[in-house]
Amino acid sequence: MQEIVESALFAAKKAGASYVDIRSIQREEEDITTKNGAVDAIKRTSSKGFGVRVIANGGWGFSSSFIATPEEGERVANEAVQIALASSKTKLEDAKMSDFKVHQDRVPQPVKIDPFEVPVTKKIMILLEADKAMNVQGIIVRKSSMHFSKEWKTFASSEGAYIEQERIVSGAGISVVATDGKEMQVRSYPGSFGGDYQRKGFEFVEELDLVSHGKEIAEQSIKLLSAKQCPSGTMDIVLGGSQMALQIHESVGHPTELDRVLGEEASFAGTSFLTADKLGTFRYGSDIMNITADATIPEALGGFAYDDEGVKAKRVYLVKDGIFVGYLNSRETAAKLGLEVMGAMRADNWNKMPIIRMTSINLEPGDKTFDELIKGVDHGILMETNKSWSIDQNRLNFQFGTEIGWEIKNGKIQEMVKNPTYTGITYEFWRKCDGIANKDFWHVWGVPNCGKGEPIQVMQVSHGTAPARFRDIKVGVLK
């Protein structure tokens, strides 16, 4: 790799680049899925390549290749400069980046059990046992899945950075579909859309204990078919941890991305209501709302040692005591607003240019038990596990649906309800948060599929949260 790095850095500078970085990734992945008692697919993927990012004549350019040779490094660097010079034809000012401490480091990721050392047969056995546990009459689809990845990333820059870091991820989940011929209901464990993911080894899959949750979700999905519809109206809601993760993701994570705020994502993902004039003064939520961006949590899917600009991982507040106090930023966007860079530039692979992404965006724990959250509700709904999500491009009007809900009456969980949904305006919703469960209920949920950018990039992020309570929310908007 060293030869390619040197070749690309030298060639780009020779071609006129004022800044160059090169990032290479070698990645192995394994995906196993079972469906209805049989192995649906097993796939092993390996990929490697590198990307070169440059500033030349004040414009940005990026090029990449899967051919890992010094000659290709030189060609790609020259192409990146050619692209940057084309960019510079429309520049309004030269691209500038904030200063930061340049690092040289090597960061392996220790895990208890290397997932790639665990035999495929053992993984299949766990998935099929979970499948068997879900085999309840009335279930038409049973799915179980595991995902593992291991990558080695090297980052070097013309400023002298040279960082190598390892990343190992494990994830798993199960789900069922029940139908009575007229409607379908789904249930998942531990979360929807593939389950839960962490930067851990195979021990994470063992901790999830998929098998012992199979029967419960199968029976719940059957029961949902005959459950009553979620009532409509304005009422209190308590959101379970996995749904809270998505609520944080869509209504706090994305709007605090500074590239969106500055209009750089207007073409696709959209912009943000959190304009720069709101920084430090805007009341985002109630006093108990504290949100951190924390890339330093050792096992969090959104964590890392260094971001893809070589900035060391940090923990910063985005919302403190309900007030909006920080953005997710990059060296360039931080410089535009005169902020300190916090390290949120990430690319989903070697062939993509880094953009601002969530790290681990967390709602800090509150002081209540789960029972206390429920006890404080006269009439409301407990909702769990995301089923659908939608939010406008400024991140204000959102609507979420969950797989399952229960009515809460007089401080007690009552009857199961189906098709629960709720809707609101982001800051109005968070201002109505009056209870957050304590650290005993806090968990960092891995979200492996956050889409953003053009070309689209799918990023692994995470959200630490506990269940939380919100007052007077519009519920039950399913037609």
Partner: protein, 444 residues
């Protein structure tokens, strides 16, 4: 791009190295470039080349697969070895019968050299023309100009051997003012057919006309959906209803409805990868030539698309709609075409007493797939129509609607249609639809 001869050599080599009962090899190579712009300048300008070689083997009913992004001799040997090892450690997939069998048909390329050879300088030139207009108006230009060249080869030990090349270019313009935005987009295999002036005109005009929007109350409205907006709804149907997987998994509203009239009389919809009105590969990722599949003929449900696995399971033939396997989203309609009507955008507007003109939907998501209920927001242009005329811009609103109900409530379709390309191609007209349900609103 390494060319037909080299790709087929690699694929044949894979097959010769495998001692499995059946072996399939898929090669995909791409050279992609995207010039992104925002705030009236090019802010993200990227390019690169990548490839993938996927090997699938079957030993009895044990299927294993492995993929790598290289094709050196050493790597090819390893990927074949890995796929076989996985298959040996696999359990039987009782639904598996065979990989695709060869079918004779001459393939044609959707490949244009000018697109493949498009330079960063040319893309910057197009973008500059958009930005000079937005700057002159005091607006902000954003969007992307993307040019991609792909090559795909598939071969298997049963005799399938196919290769094709494809180019795609897409120019998108999103124009922002202080209080509004406008949108236009066009995709073509030929970069020279991108109608730059039309894209500038539409996106700037919509942004200009939608300034200072008013807030109106949610409720049922008659709507005119542009092809951009209608494609968002129809694209969701591709996933939740129009494929054999959705039928098998209890998700499709067409379960038990084939042969019955489920949509309005004006709705005829099919998948046709060979049409001139789409952007397509001539065969799917298992090497099966694409077949024309009728979904709805004058509102009557006719069928869905299949890949090899789902077809064998039902004793049918693949329709040529496999995605790269293994894939939880396969089969999938990649070339949906909806027939138009006799009307026009202007006539439709003149026929609305009170309603909404929707330029685009955004962030749609199925809430109840079995009943095709979907939610989403309007974006980049929403207008009130009163007494046959567009009267004022409206702040964006949330809708919750059943797609099937909406397609039963179609009052008019335009003759004009547009190809909307976003990984798959959807060709649709303008539509006037009654009783479309909006449930919420936002602040802009």
């Amino acid at each position: 791009m390494i060319g037909k001869e080299r790709v087929l050599d690699i694929l044949k080599n894979v097959i010769s190295l495998s001692n499995a009962d059946q072996t399939e090899a898929l090669f995909m190579g791409d050279e992609s470039h995207l010039t992104g712009f925002a705030n009236n300048y090019i802010h993200r300008n990227v390019g690169g080349k990548d490839c993938s070689l996927s090997v699938r083997v079957a030993i009895g009913k044990n299927v294993g697969s492995a993929m790598v992004n290289s094709f050196s001799e050493e790597v090819v040997k390893k990927v074949v070895h890995d796929a076989i090892l996985i298959a040996k450690n696999q359990r039987e997939n009782l639904d598996f019968v065979s990989f695709a069998k060869p079918e004779q048909r001459k393939d044609r390329d959707f490949f244009v050299e000018a697109t493949a050879n498009c330079t960063p300088e040319l893309r910057a030139e197009y973008v500059s023309k958009i930005l000079s207009k937005t700057k002159a108006k005091g607006f902000i230009g954003s969007g992307k100009f993307e040019t991609n060249a792909l090559e795909v080869g598939v071969a298997n030990s049963l005799g399938v051997e196919r290769y094709t090349k494809l180019t795609i270019s897409t120019l998108k313009s999103v124009v922002l003012t202080d209080t509004s935005s406008g949108y236009s987009e066009y995709s073509s295999v030929d970069v020279n057919k991108i109608p730059l002036d039309d894209i500038i005109r539409e996106s700037v005009k919509v942004a200009e006309k939608s300034q200072n929007p008013v807030s109106i109350e949610p409720g049922k409205y008659e709507v005119i959906l542009t092809p951009y907006a209608l494609a968002e709804l129809i694209g969701s149907l591709c996933y939740i209803a129009l494929n054999a997987r959705a039928m098998n998994e209890g998700m499709s509203f067409l379960i038990g409805q084939i042969g019955k009239k489920v949509l309005g009389e004006s709705i005829t919809m099919l998948d046709d990868g060979l049409s001139q009105e789409t952007i397509s590969l001539p065969f799917d990722f298992e090497g099966v030539p694409k077949k024309k599949v009728m979904f709805f003929d004058k509102g009557v449900a006719k069928g869905v698309v299949y890949d090899t696995l789902t077809a064998y399971k039902e004793g049918k033939k693949s329709t040529g709609h496999s995605l790269p396997q293994p894939n939880p989203y396969s089969p999938y309609p990649m070339n949906l075409i909806m027939e138009g009507g006799e009307s026009s955008r202007e006539k439709m507007i003149s026929h609305v007493e009170k309603g909404l003109y929707v330029q685009r939907f955004w962030y749609t998501n199925p809430m109840d797939p079995r009943n095709t209920v979907i939610t989403g927001m309007t974006r980049d242009g929403l207008f009130l129509i009163e007494n046959g005329k567009i009267t004022k811009p409206v702040k964006n609103m949330r809708f919750v609607e059943s797609i099937a109900t909406a397609l039963n409530n179609v009052l008019e379709l335009s003759k004009e249609r547009k190809i909307i390309y976003d990984m798959a191609s959807v060709t649709v007209p303008y539509a006037r639809i009654k009783d479309f349900t909006f449930t919420g609103k936002t602040e802009f």
